[in-house]
Symmetry: C2
Subunit: 232 residues, 2 copies
């Protein structure tokens, strides 16, 4: 809650209805009072967002809650896509309120790994072919981007992260720093520093963000730092 | 100010000293009371950060203010690099407080362009060779990343953005949506929707973020949307 913006807090407090994945709604419990709740599980996001849009069509002011930034792999796009299916004259007005992204929260905990160009890639292949994801990892590694991985590993999908490691090792040294942040800014938060050669042995799950340094990234005094290039 | 987090506001209010680029300090005027101010111009960031570190060494609690997220091309890295030059036993403790990034703020104003993998590239060649930047643009374009450009154009440097346009056009259609957000969440904010073929004719400067869509990005009802891939 310390990382929520005033604008987001006010939008939630002034809403008639709040829609969100249940564990995320628990994180904002102190902002919930008389608002009606639409809470469903993680995999029912289309149904949940459709229910939110339906409430807005009835004239309610609805706050749809994402964790992190709703505009980065969040619910902003789905809500906008669903409203586009409504005839223009009755389409509800949408405001996207940005938040602190998971990658930004993870970076802050690690030190300053995003001081230089970076690529953000989700390893979830539920909605994207693995070949597309893999090509992005290859290009990002070849161009020396810092690489941030969302959804790096699930119980079902354990091989993609190893494949990304293999790809990155073709372009970067095995001692390239890798940071793993789990449950950033939530209960159970963990921050782990490892290396490109070894990081897949660490505990990684769907609540983790993995940050692979570029060729200049270093670790000192427990901080992962990608230098901007100042001559100090 | 509506987009600042509680944690950031509290850190500024409870500091003994605030250091920052002067126009950014004006944005947080309501949080400034008895704190001492270290304010310098844009190009003096090393001096400003060194002065902030020196104050911390004297035992002061210092808040260094960046716009956007201090961890994304911001002051977090420079502060950490400067403190690394201090012997470990007297090194001040650093906390990086994440914020809403300029790219996230720009994306929210445009709609939902970052629902899929994206690459963030600064076109400033002050600290990075242009050949490195250009290769990143090429790889990002080839791998169908949404591309976010920081520092896209200055009065001195007008050709890089045209070169990036040329590169992107080798991989994407000329009618690929491009969004330009100037002064996101500040006075004078402008939001412009254009296309890959035409966007360089729009007004773009160092206070702008340029977002180039991927092959699936579309514009409808004034919103720039990169679909996540749900079957609706």
């Amino acid at each position: 809650m310390a990382d929520i913006s005033r604008r987001a807090a006010l939008a939630i407090q002034s809403a008639d209805v709040i829609a969100g994945y249940k564990p995320y709604l628990e994180l904002i419990a102190e902002l919930v009072d008389r608002q009606e709740i639409i809470g469903t599980g993680m995999m029912q996001e289309v149904d949940r967002c459709q229910a939110a849009v339906d409430m807005a069509l009835k004239g309610k002011k609805v706050a749809v809650v994402s964790s992190g930034d709703p505009g980065i792999y969040g619910m902003a796009g789905l809500i906008l896509e669903l409203t586009m299916q409504i005839p223009e004259k009755s389409r509800p007005k949408i405001e996207v309120i940005p938040g602190i992204s998971a990658v930004g929260a993870a970076a802050a905990l690690l030190g300053a790994p995003l001081m230089h160009d970076f690529a953000v890639i989700s390893l979830s292949d539920l909605l994207t072919p693995w070949e597309v994801i893999k090509k992005r990892a290859e290009m990002a590694a070849a161009a020396d981007f810092v690489i941030a991985l969302y959804n790096p590993k699930s119980t079902r999908r354990v091989e993609h992260i190893v494949e990304v490691q293999r790809i990155a090792l073709q372009h970067r040294s095995g001692d390239t720093p890798v940071g793993i942040v789990r449950q950033a800014a939530r209960d159970g938060q963990t921050v782990t520093l490892s290396t490109l050669a070894n990081f897949t042995a660490e505990y990684i799950d769907m609540f983790s963000i993995v940050l692979i340094g570029n060729s200049q990234t270093f670790v000192r005094d427990g901080h992962m730092i990608t230098p901007r290039g100042y001559h100090l």
